[in-house]
Symmetry: C2
Subunit: 194 residues, 2 copies
Amino acid sequence: MSRKTGVLELAVLGLLHESPLHGYELRKRLSAVFGPVKRISYGSLYPCLKELVATGLIAEDTAASVTGVGKRGRTVYKLTAEGKERLQDQLGDHGPAAWEDESFGVRLAFFGQTDADVRLKILEGRRTRLEERREKVSSAMGRTREKLDRYTLELQQHGLESVEREVRWLNELIATERGPGSHAAVSARPRSAK
Amino acid sequence: MSRKTGVLELAVLGLLHESPLHGYELRKRLSAVFGPVKRISYGSLYPCLKELVATGLIAEDTAASVTGVGKRGRTVYKLTAEGKERLQDQLGDHGPAAWEDESFGVRLAFFGQTDADVRLKILEGRRTRLEERREKVSSAMGRTREKLDRYTLELQQHGLESVEREVRWLNELIATERGPGSHAAVSARPRSAK
DNA sequence: GTTAGCATGTAAGGAGTTACATGATTTT
DNA sequence: AAAATCATGTAACTCCTTACATGCTAAC
């Protein structure tokens, strides 16, 4: 059933689940979710909010919205019941899409609202994905090392090390997931896991 | 004069300056220029080549193109005189655009064709850019540390360390630029430095 | 003989940006 | 009273992707 939900929409749903917010504040929080590199502009945020309202996943929180006379006023948004459902649906997804570059960061940001077994699957999927990439890059480098100039080589090398560093980071995260409280966390069987 | 040249166009010009190539091969080389993350699809490469031909910056190398009967044949492209000019123009640019995320990697990949003083300016500009970013992220973390959950914090921390790591890398590159042959390279004072 | 890789292209569309337009509130 | 930051929104546009369409060539 669930239609394609872009990463931005997912991030908005996730943030609104924590607490109702208005657009401006939402954007600031989004900066924490997407790294320092990708910051969302109002030109994409507001149309996104508009569409989420149209789809019925979020609603204007009339109680919290400040709309005095003459004021343009802040419009505060909150999740609807359908929005919560959709969010849970999306956060439960542990398919390949969850560990691709675009979505992984957002998925991780909302791990607090994600089941332990799903978290582990996503982390491991991501690690495998990166290990494949590392293989590809390093074998490509092996084949063409002599033909590349200093700078291209430097670039490739740095890229390779970035991938390796992320793998180490994932290993730590995975270890932490499995480590303390692993009895409670892991043994909590996925109820109705597909 | 010079119209806006996207990063893809710049990368194509840069690669064709090294040697004439056909689209398929070009794409493989582009994978080395843009990291393992961003790979260019044919859906953007071929239209790009088309436009560069239309603009007169590249031309089909009729000598090298294999176009036997019935065969669709490879179309080999090479730089035109205007293309070379445009490339030199672009590679000489050491303005802020050169060290932004989208272009920096490409600019570095073609440092072999870039003047030493321009190289240094771009590397330093990039480093300053990243230091600003590091400041912003780490101060934002300081302000909100308590309010963030484990995973968001982990994400921010990893992002911060990525930035710091790139700064260290840049420091090495800058040191190397200044190191061997530094008398010639560095003592060449920036003439008319603004 | 079929799988994988080589090779070129188009049409439709997604996901976002920039630039603009507007105005209130807070700080200096 | 000026500057910064808060706050919302639209229109035009850019860049790139996906999915499709086509066919050759080498290896297994």
